[in-house]
Assembly symmetry: C2
Homo-oligomer: 136 residues x 2
């Protein structure tokens, strides 16, 4: 009788979730689409977008906005930060948990009501470091 969580676990949704959890690369929606069509050639890009959106709204996965033009997705929902390679856009995980409450600090400085923070790094991934060295 109450508002239920009507989430059908369709084949597409299941494969999307499985695939995202399998990789550690923080793929874009289109990356996912390219990966998925190998196992499910008729899957639609719209379906990939819609399901990544639904899954992240349900808190089952994470939608990332780490700069660059495309959103990325992460099957790991534990609290962690990210680094983005300024050259190739590749995104890696970083476990830096600030040792004090950033939200509390921030709240003292503003009349916004602070909910949460997001800490992100920029840098150069191992592959692009290597390329730079080769060119130099």
């Amino acid at each position: 009788m109450e508002a239920k969580n009507k989430l059908r676990m369709t084949k597409q949704r299941q494969v999307i979730l499985e695939e995202l959890r399998k990789v550690k690369t923080h793929p874009t929606a289109d990356d996912m689409y390219q990966m998925l069509r190998k196992k499910m050639p008729k899957i639609s890009l719209g379906t990939v977008y819609r399901n990544l959106e639904i899954l992240s709204e349900s808190g089952i996965i994470q939608k990332l906005d780490v700069g660059g033009t495309q959103k990325r997705f992460d099957g790991d929902i534990t609290i962690h930060s990210h680094v983005r390679c300024v050259d190739c856009g590749r995104v890696g995980d970083i476990d830096v948990t600030p040792k004090y409450n950033l939200e509390e600090e921030a709240q003292k400085m503003t009349d916004f009501m602070i909910f949460r923070h997001r800490l992100e790094f920029t840098g150069l991934c191992p592959i692009c470091q290597h390329k730079k060295k080769a060119t130099a």
Copy 2:
């Protein structure tokens, strides 16, 4: 004799820079366009985009990517963080300087070469707080 910084100070560029430095609202490119056409009706949206890009690449202004679909710009290039209102998208400044070197901490956890960090908050701006209260 050396590679010079060929930055012509055109009327448009100057007005764009002046206007951005005048406001504290972290406008989008289109916000800027709307503001600017009042003083310079024939300015083109493309010109606004290009100049904001050039100015931020030169380090004269800052390009922000605080989530949402549009990039925002900030005439204040001193180191500070931002809050984004989850309801209306408005962006505010926050002066929280972490009390230890986040980059150094992060570098221990990854094989990326860390350059810098970005700390951002999400919350509710004063205006939307008020609206929420009124509706409740």
